[in-house]
């Protein structure tokens, strides 16, 4: 085994071992704290290993891949599982282990009020999630990605429903599973069809085949579109985004890890991972660009009116994922993946900070908070850092990555996505600073007695805050070096189309003005109260209602589930089965029984009746004999 193999196993195995141990040794799990420490120890080991792995891989990029047979075939090539490590995977491993470590440490404080048994269960799920997410990242085949893809979905389901006795949490958990599963129907169909036409799931082989032009364009477009449906479900792209805001019912650290930084980014990662395939399916790329940019804009508008601090962040996550998708759609892996990278840090940070607020206030409603900057200074500072990063203010991390995306989208010459992308900059700055001003600075007195969170919670927050500041300018060169390549290849393919559009020099300045404008407007409305937000609300009532109702998307989904599926198709089938299919069976039974009852009258045991019968028969025979 070479060094990369050993390191990959060192990244993957500790969470698996922790999961297996915590899962099987029940007293250990029930004790709570030991399970937590084991899980944290495991993920920290993985983190260190992933850093070393990243260093190795970045020094000599590979790609490294090795595989084993999983399903034997004779007529076909056996189906393999294995690992495929290149800079993309290595960096993603670092992101996952880093955020997961921080979140697990933070959870020690956040979940301190849980009973020991629940705490053990919580960390067991966390270990499984880490393993599945890392496995997804390091997968060497599409099938294997699908396997771990479903497993992270399972963990998401289990952790959203962690407080399973709360009906809202239970409903949110199943909704998340169903919605992503609906997308996965596409994913499954896509890889099955792709396998039928290429005979393999292995990534290196697929890349090779597509480069050699051995996959028909129509098949490639079809399968990539189907696979993208899976990515839409997981990365909460319109219209399959509906599960993510509800997923906020889970514990806040879970939202930070799974529903902000890692699992929801899996869809983006998937597209980036098999980008060589996507780049040969241009029509699908355009579709991705439109879906992504529309989602970015669409979710940002809903975030404007949310009153639950976590839901603002949730819609913001959807919006940012839309950005990443848009970047991939216009052919820039670098911009998309770079934004995934920075977003993981500052969005996890924002969630952890929001968790710190919720932990202190025991409410999610921003209107019940106010002036928290004073009692919770550290939380306020890190939250503002995260917000600045998200809003795209230099020199914070988000500025670099978002700028890159906007440049690439404008460069592509697609008008609508460009408008969406630019408008979202303004909206993002506005809705985030709305929260900042209302929660941390407004004149309202907070309810209860808020207090700063313990060091076990603030520590991870500061760590992520530091990364949110520096990750942008520190790593931009790195990303350009390793992923700029794919973008170039795409550009040459599209050169004719995009040659006309040049990026104007004033574009970065425009985005900055938009961001600052958003901040200023939020300041005027929510801090200075120079413009009354109540009056605004009254004035634009139809728009407000539409946003408040989230464009009725949830209602449509509920209608489809409740009335069409469960209350419609299933009733028809169930009823048909019980009363028609089985009804006919019972009819036969009933007829048999009835005819038996009637014929039984002939055998009534009365001798006279039999005699009548005999005589009647005799007469009949005589008559028959005569004629």
């Amino acid at each position: 085994m070479n060094q990369v193999q050993v390191l990959t196993l060192l990244v993957l195995l500790p969470p698996l071992i922790s999961f297996a141990w915590n899962g099987v040794v029940i007293p250990w799990r029930r004790a709570g704290k030991p399970a937590a420490w084991l899980s944290i120890l495991a993920i920290l080991t993985s983190f260190v290993a992933s850093l070393v792995l990243a260093k190795t891989v970045l020094a000599s990029p590979g790609p490294y891949s090795w595989e084993w047979t999983w399903l034997p075939f004779q007529n076909f090539k056996p189906i393999i599982v294995g690992f495929y490590i290149d800079p993309l995977a290595a960096l993603m491993l670092v992101v996952v282990t880093l955020v997961a470590s921080m979140v697990q440490i933070y959870s020690l404080g956040y979940m301190s009020e849980e009973p020991a048994g629940s705490l053990g269960r919580y960390y067991t799920y966390h270990s499984l999630f880490s393993f599945a997410m890392l496995g997804l990242t390091a997968s060497a085949s599409l099938l294997q990605i699908y396997i771990f893809w479903e497993l992270v979905g399972l963990c998401s389901y289990l952790l959203i429903g962690f407080w399973y006795q709360k009906p809202s949490a239970a409903n949110a958990a199943v909704k998340a599973f169903w919605t992503t599963r609906l997308g996965d129907v596409g994913f499954a169909l896509g890889i099955v069809v792709l396998w039928a036409h290429t005979g393999t799931f292995a990534l290196p082989e697929l890349f090779h085949k597509v480069e050699a032009g051995q996959i028909a364009t129509s098949i490639l477009a079809l399968t990539m579109l189907l696979v993208f449906f899976g990515a839409m479900g997981k990365s909460a792209q319109f219209p399959l985004h509906i599960w993510l805001p509800d997923a906020m019912e889970g514990p806040t650290p879970v939202s930070a890890l799974i529903h902000a930084a890692t699992m929801v980014a899996a869809g983006v990662y998937l597209v980036a991972r098999i980008f060589p395939l996507y780049s040969h399916a241009e029509s699908v790329m355009t579709f991705i660009a439109y879906i992504g940019s529309f989602t970015a804009f669409f979710a940002a508008t809903i975030a404007l009116v949310q009153e639950d601090i976590k839901r603002v962040l949730a819609y913001s996550t959807i919006s940012q994922l839309g950005y990443m998708m848009a970047a991939l759609g216009v052919g820039s892996v670098m911009a998309g993946f770079f934004h995934l990278f920075t977003h993981a840090f500052f969005k996890a940070l924002l969630f952890l900070a929001a968790g710190s607020v919720i932990h202190a206030m025991h409410t999610n409603d921003i209107w019940k908070m106010g002036r928290l900057a004073k009692p919770m200074k550290q939380t306020a500072i890190v939250f503002i850092i995260g917000t600045l990063a998200l809003a795209g203010v230099p020199p914070f991390a988000g500025y670099f990555s978002k700028d890159e995306i906007i440049i690439k989208v404008v460069e592509s010459g697609m008008v609508l996505p460009a408008i969406f992308a630019l408008a979202t900059v303004f909206l993002t700055a506005f809705y985030m600073f709305r929260v900042v001003f209302v929660v941390f600075f407004s004149h309202r007195e907070p309810e209860g007695h808020p207090h700063e969170s313990p060091a076990v919670m603030t520590g991870p927050m500061w760590f992520l805050a530091a990364l949110s500041v520096v990750a942008g300018f520190l790593f931009k060169g790195l990303f350009e070096k390793f992923f700029g390549h794919a973008a170039e290849a795409m550009e040459t393919a599209q050169e004719a189309a995009t040659a006309a559009s040049h990026v104007p020099g004033w574009l970065p300045i425009l985005t900055l003005i938009l961001a600052l404008g958003g901040i200023l407007l939020a300041y005027l409305i929510y801090q200075k109260e120079a413009i009354s937000h109540e009056r605004l609300r009254a004035q634009f009532r139809p728009v407000y209602v539409m946003l408040q109702k989230k464009y009725w998307m949830d209602d449509i989904a509920y209608f489809l589930y409740r009335r069409v599926l469960v209350g419609g198709l299933s009733v028809i089938c169930g009823w048909f089965d019980r009363y028609i299919v089985d009804g006919i069976v019972n009819l036969v039974t009933w007829l048999t029984r009835k005819s038996g009852e009637i014929l039984r009258l002939l055998q009534n045991g009365v001798v006279q009746d039999y005699l009548y019968g005999v005589i009647f028969g005799l007469i009949l025979f005589i008559l028959l004999g005569i004629f």
């Binding site: 004779q74 699908y146 429903g161 039928a196 089938c573 169930g574 009804g583």
Partner: protein
């Protein structure tokens, strides 16, 4: 290869167990339970031995035992297993072993119960290891009949409010009672047997070999003109037991009324007898007939998948939900068979095993929940997860297997069938197949949510979790599900060998 008569021992162990149990005094609480447990344990060990010793580089039927019984008619005692039947023997051994433990709490006529259970399983093993069609049919009937008594005596009744245009009739025939269920199931299966008997005798006659021996018939090519109408006869005959639509309605009623171990065996193993029969007798002996008719087999299978899942969604009785999920999953088995290609048939056989183990687990769990909460109506439950965390965990594992979650065996099976479906002539079968998996996710998670999640119902504050021997079935079956989900090749290697042999008969037949 020299070996001791493993297969005869597998047949004898439950049969002698049944005899021994029968002659125990009624009061011997432990003896009437330990003897069946040991008998089942022996078969379990022997079946694992078979799996380890089966030489897949040679393939074909192994562990052959051959003694003539009635040479004049070409009937002989001929046993042997190939990869396919091996997988099913493995399945049966696990289900009977855990079924014995799942029935531990039966107090009424215990020894008769275990006697019948072991007799039934003797029949099941017999079907899987027979290489003589006469013997095959004999064991088949032995497997079908004890179920009548098991349901009729130890079953449970449930009042079903009659509605709809047949309401009066439904009331009069007694839908929902155990006697009704037992009678319906038995009549249905005997109806199927009639077809099978006709099919087998016709094969015997038209082959002109004057033998029931499977290997000889397998080597012989049956006249394609006969195959064309023989295949549907055999398909309907075995299909009834495999729960093909619209001949499936015996299965929800039967499974719902049967006692736990009987449901486990029936849904877990007996339904596979049907599917196995279609593949073994139908497809292997009549490739031309099968090719001619697969469009029907596959279409009905897709109906099974989607229709079964949607019907399960409508049910509010836990046992009916699991029973309809069997109808849906047997659709996957039949769809895989209908693809007539390597991934599809591998998936089909693997799904037989996977679904058998899974549904065994689920019925064991339903039995436990019913025993403790005294209700099967899921709407009356709620928040059980707090009081029975163990049962909730295992139920989740079973449910997740059912919806095809990777890492559990159901995924491997379903995915293989999907791979096969796209390559079949009727590629569009893939779509209902995958959609069925989605619908399964809907009803399974919905049921789990209603039963185990949500606010805790104070009425059930004294609800106990599983205890003692009750854990055996849950732990063993869940373990197998995970094992087969992670390392499916331990079973797929032998299955693949036999599937390839089966497919070699289709060379030149398939376009």
């Amino acid at each position: 290869m020299q070996h001791f008569p493993v297969l005869s021992l597998i047949l004898l162990a439950p049969f002698l167990g049944a005899l021994l149990t029968m002659f125990q005094p009624k009061e011997a609480y432990y003896r009437v339970r330990i003897i069946p447990a040991i008998a089942a344990g022996i078969t379990l060990i022997l079946s694992i031995y078979l799996l380890l010793k089966y030489d897949r580089s040679i393939g074909g039927f192994q562990f052959i035992e051959h003694y003539p019984l009635i040479p004049q008619l070409g009937i002989s005692y001929h046993l042997g297993v190939d990869g396919m039947s091996l997988a099913l023997v493995f399945l049966t051994a696990f289900i009977i072993f855990t079924g014995v433990f799942a029935s531990w709490t039966i107090l009424e006529r215990t020894k008769e119960f275990y006697t019948l259970l072991l007799l039934l399983v003797t029949g099941v093993f017999g079907v899987f290891v027979s290489l003589d069609l006469f013997l095959f049919f004999l064991f088949y009937e032995l497997a079908v009949l004890p179920m009548y008594l098991l349901i009729g005596v130890w079953g449970s009744s449930k009042y079903i409010k009659p509605r709809g245009i047949f309401a009066r009739m439904i009331q009069e025939v007694g839908v929902g009672t155990k006697e009704y269920a037992a009678m319906k199931l038995t009549l249905y299966l005997l109806f199927g047997s009639a077809f099978i008997l006709v099919g087998l005798l016709t094969i015997y006659k038209v082959s002109g070999l004057n033998t029931f021996d499977f290997l000889e018939l397998n080597a012989h090519k049956i006249d394609p003109r006969y195959q064309k109408f023989l295949f549907p006869i055999v398909y309907i005959g075995f299909g009834v037991l495999a729960g093909i639509w619209p001949l499936h309605t015996w299965s929800p009623d039967g499974h719902a009324s049967a006692p736990t171990a009987a449901s486990m065996l029936h849904a877990g193993v007996l339904m596979k007898l049907g599917a196995y029969g279609v593949v073994r007798v139908g497809m292997q002996l009549m490739p031309q007939g099968a090719t001619e008719w697969v469009w029907l087999v596959g279409t009905i299978a897709t109906i099974n998948i989607v229709y079964g899942a949607l019907s399960a969604m409508w049910q509010m009785d836990l046992k009916y939900i699991v029973a309809y999920s069997s109808v849906s999953h047997m659709g996957i088995v039949m769809l895989g068979a209908a693809t007539l290609n390597e991934p599809g048939l591998n998936g089909s056989v693997f799904q037989m095993v996977s679904h058998g183990i899974m549904t065994g687990l689920l019925f064991a769990l339903v039995g436990l929940v019913y025993e403790k909460a005294h209700t099967r109506d899921i709407l009356a439950m709620g928040g059980f997860g707090k009081r029975m965390p163990g049962i909730a965990t295992f139920f989740t594992i079973g449910g997740l297997t059912s919806l095809g979650l990777p890492g559990l065996s159901g995924f491997v099976a379903e995915f293989l069938v999907f791979l096969g479906a796209w390559q079949a002539k009727q590629w569009y079968w893939l779509v209902p197949g995958v959609l069925g998996a989605f619908f399964t996710a809907v009803y399974v998670l919905r049921a789990l949510k209603i039963i185990f999640w949500g606010p805790f119902n104070e009425k059930y504050k004294d609800l106990p979790d599983a205890i003692g021997t009750e854990w055996v079935a849950l732990a063993v079956l869940s373990g197998v599900l995970i094992l087969l989900g992670v390392v499916p090749f331990i079973l797929l290697h032998p299955i693949d060998v036999s599937v390839m042999e089966l497919l070699s008969k289709f060379k030149g037949v398939l376009p």
